[in-house]
């Protein structure tokens, strides 16, 4: 077997490459150059940077495997960065990692895997691909604190047949221990947290530079429409946000609505934020689609636990009625449906009132 390993320069993909070698595969390491500075160089700080590529290269050298940097700047800009910026301008909270996985890693790079005459694409994601009865299943990682199945929900049967996620079978502690035992320089490297193409400051500064309109200000109102403050741009807000509102009110207030066209941000109490259901569009499924009336667990943002919900078709998408009211999910984020440990599929959350979606 010949394996193409996407090496980010982090510990997980380093160990993934080593594990494939241990399994007897012929391994080729690649790093995707996804983003670049104005002079065409790779960014020097943050994730997916020159120093990360250098870490990946050094690990590849240590493992004695060929290593290449592949240029995906155009694909990444079109498929991830632009929709990210446009989504925020439309009051959405896009998930760039999901879009990257959907359009770059597990589409463009998967195509490239075949072009390079490799049998499988390997990444350092924490999730498990299982095969039973001729079907592939996508399962949560062994390490619940590191599970990344949420951002991999778009993998279908044909993708899963060509994808290997070896570190999903290990806890993060085991991954680091293995890296240390192998003497890999990435063994103690901190996990990356930031959005990879936002290289300095936070995403708000980034939005300001790529879409200056994101910084046009407006009013903050309460649920009765009273003006309670001002903001410097709706793109700085996400539904459910509590911090950084710049409004002093007695009890905690949350962003309950964002109207980018009028540049209005509405805040309310925790109760105002609650909703009985949400709608997702562009749903894809790991195998068979869900059926109307199915009871599933849904995860509506990355770092939350799934909650019970019942599925019903809704205007070309699916509505999920929560067992108990939940804080309103942010449009633009991914909704991923699970049954137990297994991913059923996922889509993009929309504001059921406007139908605005991200990316297309």
């Amino acid at each position: 077997m010949r394996a193409l390993v996407a090496m980010s320069g982090g510990v997980d993909s380093s160990v993934a490459a080593a594990l494939m070698l241990e399994q007897g595969a012929e391994v080729i390491g690649v790093t995707l150059k996804q983003w670049e500075g104005p002079d065409g160089s790779m960014p020097v700080s943050g994730c997916c940077t020159l120093s990360d590529a250098e870490d990946a290269r050094r690990v590849a050298a240590q493992l004695d495997i060929p290593y290449y940097v592949l240029d995906y700047v155009d694909e990444f800009t079109e498929a991830v960065v632009k929709p990210f910026a446009e989504g925020y301008l439309n009051g959405l909270t896009p998930n760039p990692c999901v879009e990257c996985n959907r359009k770059v890693r597990f589409r463009a790079l998967l195509d490239r895997t075949a072009e390079l005459d490799c049998d499988v694409l390997v990444t350092g994601h924490h999730a498990r691909v299982e095969r039973s009865g001729g079907k592939y299943r996508l399962r949560r990682a062994i390490d619940p604190t590191k599970d990344q199945s949420y951002v991999l929900h778009m993998l279908d049967q044909s993708s899963l047949a060509k994808v290997r996620l070896p570190v999903g079978e290990m806890t993060k502690t085991q991954v680091r221990a293995r890296a240390a035992a192998l003497g890999l320089r990435t063994a103690a490297k901190p996990d990356s947290q930031d959005i990879c193409f936002v290289t300095s400051g936070d995403y708000r500064d980034f939005l300001g530079t790529v879409v200056p309109a994101a910084a046009s200000g407006g009013e903050i109102v309460d649920t009765d429409g009273n003006v309670v403050g001002h903001h410097a741009g709706t793109a700085s807000f996400t539904i459910g946000q509590r911090k950084g509102l710049g409004v002093a009110v007695g009890e905690p207030r949350f962003v309950v609505d964002i109207e980018p066209r009028e540049q209005v941000v509405t805040i309310g109490t925790k109760e105002d934020l609650l909703t009985d259901s949400c709608v997702a569009v562009d749903m894809s499924f790991v195998d068979e689609p869900i059926e109307p009336g199915d009871h599933v667990e849904v995860k509506v943002r990355y770092r939350t636990e799934p909650v019970g919900a019942t599925a019903a078709p809704h205007a070309g998408g699916w509505e999920f009625r929560f067992d108990r009211p939940q804080p309103r999910p942010a449009p633009g984020q991914a909704l991923v449906a699970y049954r137990g440990e297994y991913v059923l599929g996922g889509g993009t959350i929309v504001d059921a009132r406007s139908g605005v979606t991200v990316g297309g």
Binding site: K33, S41, M42, A53, R57, P66, Y68, V69, L70, D71
Partner: protein
């Protein structure tokens, strides 16, 4: 798996003559050439003998017209930045197909306030002398046009360019980056008519990190590196004596090997292209209709991503390259091919195969079959 090395234009293997001379120098030549005792004098002798030989091989009038540097990029920077800084108001004119060492040096000068104009090329990647003269006009400028392009191998009419720009403005300084051209054929002061000539050792079988700049006597030049005043004040810092000895040995070997190179190495390249043309009728050889270096073959394989082809060739031992790579190693869109009018998508389908002194009989034909098999299978 037999390796076929077709990336001599990136770095040629060290010539054995250079290696032997370097080992001897490392073992036997201690001391600092700037010192006054016997050990220092030995280093100084080796350095100055090298300078004399380099001057002779380039057809320079005097040894002190040779400045040893840390490589081609440094030589290009010294030539361009050094000559512009030496006279107030001097402008820069470069072709659009120069190496980044030239373009970035010009860009830097431009950022510091100098005027910078560029001269384009035709569809075969050749810069036109008349266009150069038009762009220079009456301006006192440093004009930099490479002697052969590092992607396509197309030879540039540097001597004609020098003649024509001097015709419109006698005060011009003509620089040529001959880093690639020195390998492919004769490069001398007379053949280029340039005031400043850049060479880089590792392209012709010398060590990496060593180069030289020929500076015609009387050419104004400000140093970039200040210090102890070595190299007649034009490049301070203790000379890399073993490296310089190795470079000059490789220069001599390159010059005496030129007939064989043209016939044998050029023959391998020709057989490579003949087999490719036979097996892959859609493959298009760049700059085929114009004079180009005998060891270069720049080929576009329609609908084949160069990045993919290079990785698959690497797996089976064929080492080739695309136009240029960034620091991370990712292949970048080629400004040279863009300047020739090639669409970015087509430019991304081009691969450079560069034969060299170490190419063996049969390499051309063998490599062509491997490449054709690979293209057929993608």
């Amino acid at each position: 798996m037999a390796e076929i090395y077709l990336d001599h234009a990136a770095t040629a293997p060290l010539r054995p003559e250079a290696r032997d001379a370097m080992v001897k120098a490392l073992d036997e030549i201690g001391g600092n050439p700037s010192g006054s005792h016997a050990v220092a004098r030995m280093a100084k002798n080796a350095l100055e003998e090298s300078r004399e030989r380099a001057a002779e091989l380039l057809g320079a009038d005097r040894p002190d017209e040779i400045v040893f540097t840390g490589g081609g990029t440094e030589s290009d920077n010294l030539a361009i930045v050094g000559s512009v800084r030496a006279s107030a108001g001097r402008a820069v004119v470069t072709s659009t197909i120069e190496h980044k060492a030239v373009l970035e040096a010009a860009k830097h000068l431009h950022a510091m306030g100098s005027a910078w104009s560029t001269v384009g090329c035709d569809r075969d990647g050749v810069v036109m002398p008349t266009t150069c003269a038009d762009v220079v006009g009456g301006n006192e400028a440093t004009v930099s046009v490479m002697a052969a392009n590092n992607e396509t191998g197309a030879l540039q009419p540097v001597a004609e360019i020098a003649g024509s720009v001097r015709g419109s403005q006698p005060g011009v300084v003509v620089h040529t980056d001959a880093v690639q051209a020195f390998v492919g054929g004769e490069v001398t002061v007379a053949s280029t008519r340039a005031d400043l000539i850049t060479l880089s050792a590792h392209k012709f079988g010398g060590p990496k990190g060593v180069g030289l700049l020929y500076v015609r006597s009387g050419t104004p030049l400000e140093p970039l590196v200040h210090g102890g005043g070595q190299e007649a004040g034009r490049r301070s810092g203790t000379a890399n004596v073993p490296g310089i000895v190795g470079m000059v040995e490789a220069m001599a070997a390159t010059v005496s090997d030129r007939d064989r190179f043209r016939d044998d190495v050029g023959g391998e390249r020709d057989r490579f292209e003949a087999v490719l043309a036979d097996r892959l009728p859609k493959a298009a050889i760049t700059a085929r209709e114009v004079p180009r270096m005998p060891h270069f073959s720049h080929v576009r394989f329609p609908e084949i991503r160069a990045e993919t082809l290079l990785i698959r060739l690497d797996r089976i031992g064929v080492r080739a390259a695309a136009g240029s790579a960034c620091q991370s190693g990712a292949i970048e869109p080629s400004h040279v091919l863009t300047a020739m009018g090639m669409a970015p998508a087509a430019a991304a389908e081009c691969v450079r195969f560069s034969f060299g002194w170490a190419s063996r009989v049969g390499d051309g034909e063998a490599a062509a079959h491997i490449v054709a098999d690979m293209v057929d299978s993608i």
